[in-house]
Symmetry: C2
Subunit: 476 residues, 2 copies
């Protein structure tokens, strides 16, 4: 167990906060509910951002930037939307020393300001589809906050698209939830269930909300990303019509979709252990850390000749690395430090290793420690990193499969939720029943699965035949 | 003259606004003083950001993210700082439906919140230097706004560094102003004067402010970036001390530095003409645009075979390009459109060109139009782009040199300012004299030049001997 970190088994929530702070991912700020994302945490977000930004552009999207301040009246134009967000708003009442005529809210999400602009930009079918993404900060006033998972201000991206047909907008919402799935599974090594939200859980203003749901280390669910088919709701609220190819005037169809810095929290909770973070190589800011070990200048010279060989190879192979040259701390301190920071592969080089033209490798995911000649290390490093990535994903998949239980009665469902885990079952109940289950068990329907494990079954509550398979779980 | 664009000679200010809107760089939003950065404008900002972010990392900096909301009391801790920013603040008074105990301001700049955190993070000389940058939005309540140049909300980066010695912090401030110079001259093709601000013009809370000053197309100055040596001002305000190597307790030394989306406006004003934008290839989102021209399918097939050859070559050479396939608009419309958007090189391919295995090239900067065989076009394209980049910079440099006048009397100075241009002169006056000149001429000292053209001279006002050479100009 690492110094100052509460064991996971003792207090999962405290373990999480300890790791986030000790690994220097984030820190509490003097502003209630707001956090500081520290450089190492921000580097994780940069990896996420770079992957997504590339994917967005490959799928035809462009970035733009819309004002953060939104007239309060805009939110009121879509009835469900304002109901969902009104309680969470931060309100600017004064600017430049004067009271404002109309208060401005800090965006909790940008549908309203963006659709006010789309009204100016969309006239004809030739202007469609409009595929815009924005990287931005948003503010939602939260009573109970937690670093990365729920903070008053957070960073995210929000895609807002406009289409000529309902089908296109629906396809877009599906396309993007699968981009998020790819991010989670291929980059973050977190398997996700993909599906649709029930009416109870959908976005305020959406027709349909799609979601990816991940299992954290404590067997609770984390909503890792959502995309929404908005129908014509915002087009109607902001009167956005287009002239169709058939020369008729039609309301535009919309989608929106987003993921946030909460994903950094997901990485911590999905993979971390009592020694700290475990980072999949794809997202690790440093994939390898080199720790040179020596006691005098002769040893130092010998060791650094090996270090240089490694650095050259890392550069050639585009492997992200860091050489820990610090003279003021011990090798042992460095080992702990980089374990806490979850670097996938540690390479130790002492004088004896250098004499043998080799290195000691330590895998963060398995703890495995072995000697390798420099040549074979260099030749196999890319593969080792790939193997670490795959192993981490596989172990998370196994963990999830072992903790997802098919239930067919409410008692079984309650037992699963009590013991921890996901309950998979068929559903034909009402919103009210869903609410009651939440009251009794704290669990909600995380998603209606896109991919059923069985074609049909009977509803866990009503016993009615159903083809709707859902996941129940307690969630962050 | 392009349709709907006011000629520069008629009304420069209106020309600017027309071009920004017609080129779809930005649009007015429904929120007073706030603009929408449209995808093409945001793409310019992305080029700037990518260049700088790489430079920052190469010079040892890391990115982080600090809260946008700052307790009002924090700003009051540094006397000069609050005086400078208090009139421009946007204030959040309500959150989550309740009145806040202490109002929060939206950051106009982040020194205060960052130094509140540095107090937690800095204890020893081992923690220094701390070299952090942030990409963020900021809000400064402005009475008179102009797209990109002065808006209530804007995007920028702000570097905030902490050092053990004054010398290191000063070196950092100098290093970063030269990074900004490199951005302007090498990427944006805008020559800048580099120097120091007078006390009248320096940042609220700084000991020294360094600046780069560019000449716009109307011969006015635009401050394109600043860096500040902050001394121990913020360390003292937030009580940030460190244990030195000699075991003494010392206040930390600081620098901060930033550039903003205003640079996009600078690109428009430095290079644009009555046909619209002229983009230097280094910053152009598309460096080449291909316009295929055909009347029937036979022609189309022939033409597109050439298009494919070009596209392959562009990809191989990492040239950013766009093929304008639109079927709903004419070739002439496309020519105007891409001229408005300032694409450096237009490549037209009609059936006759295809027959001759060639293309028509049109340079945006010179208007030059010429036939080239496809092979020689591909072989020379990189060089042509480089030549365009250099030519644009050279023409701006010539323009600036032709409009920078050495003056030795106040009358001469007034004449230069009246006629438009920069007045270069020696200075040994007081702040009061500077204020008076501003009142009488609207010109300010843009900078005390780092590189004098002459070693010494006599002050334009007092006649005293001086080694301080300055630039006077009207500024945006």
């Amino acid at each position: 167990m690492s110094k100052g970190v509460t064991p996971r088994s003792k207090d999962y929530s405290k373990w999480y906060t300890d790791v986030v702070q000790k690994a220097e991912l984030a820190d509490y700020s003097p502003v209630k509910g707001c956090m500081v994302i520290r450089p190492y945490g921000y580097a994780l977000w940069e990896q996420i951002r770079d992957f997504l930004d590339k994917k967005f552009k490959e799928t035809g999207h462009v970035n733009a930037y819309f004002p953060m301040l939104i007239p309060e009246s805009f939110l009121q134009k879509e009835a469900e939307h304002v109901k969902g967000f009104a309680p969470e708003l931060a309100v600017v009442t004064h600017g430049g020393g004067k009271k404002l005529e109309e208060p401005l809210v800090i965006r909790p999400t940008s549908e309203t300001i963006i659709w006010a602009m789309y009204k100016k930009w969309i006239n004809s079918y030739r202007d469609l589809p409009l595929l815009i993404n924005q990287w931005a900060n948003v503010v939602r006033w939260e009573m109970r906050t937690r670093l990365f998972l729920r903070t008053t201000e957070f960073l995210w991206q929000e895609g807002h698209t406009a289409h000529a047909t309902a089908q296109e907008a629906e396809e877009e919402a599906h396309r993007m939830i699968h981009v998020y799935q790819q991010l989670c599974e291929e980059v973050l090594a977190i398997p996700v269930y993909v599906g649709k939200k029930t009416d109870n859980e959908k976005f305020a203003g959406a027709e349909n909300t799609y979601t990816i749901e991940a299992m954290m280390g404590d067997k609770r669910a984390l909503q890792a990303g959502t995309s929404h088919y908005l129908g014509q709701n915002f087009a109607k609220a902001f009167d956005v019509k287009f002239q169709s190819e058939e020369n008729t005037l039609e309301y535009v169809y919309a989608s929106s979709w987003g993921v946030s810095t909460r994903l950094v929290g997901a990485v911590v909770m999905a993979h971390g252990d009592d020694q700290g973070l475990i980072l999949p190589p794809q997202i690790a800011p440093y994939q390898c850390v080199i720790v040179p070990i020596y006691k005098n200048n002769t040893q130092k010279e010998k060791v650094f000749s090996c270090v240089q060989t490694l650095e050259k190879a890392f550069k050639e192979q585009h492997i992200r690395y860091f050489t820990d040259n610090r003279e003021t701390v011990s090798a042992g301190f460095k080992f702990n430090d980089w374990e806490m920071k979850g670097v996938p592969l540690r390479v130790e080089i002492g004088p004896k290793d250098a004499d043998k033209n080799g290195v000691i490798c330590v895998r963060r995911d398995t703890g495995e420690k072995y000697f390798q000649s420099i040549d074979s290390f260099i030749a196999s490093c890319k593969n080792t990193l790939k193997d670490i990535q795959d192993s981490i994903f596989q172990s998370r998949l196994t963990f999830r499969e072992n903790n997802t239980f098919d239930v067919s009665t409410y008692d079984e469902l309650k037992t699963v939720i009590d013991n921890g885990g996901f309950a998979r079952t068929f559903w034909a109940g009402t919103s009210e029943m869903e609410n009651q289950i939440q009251e009794e068990t704290k669990a909600t329907i995380r998603c209606i699965l896109f991919d059923n494990t069985e074609e049909s079954g009977h509803c866990v509550i009503t016993g009615k035949p159903s083809i709707t398979q859902v996941i129940f779980a307690k969630a962050y």
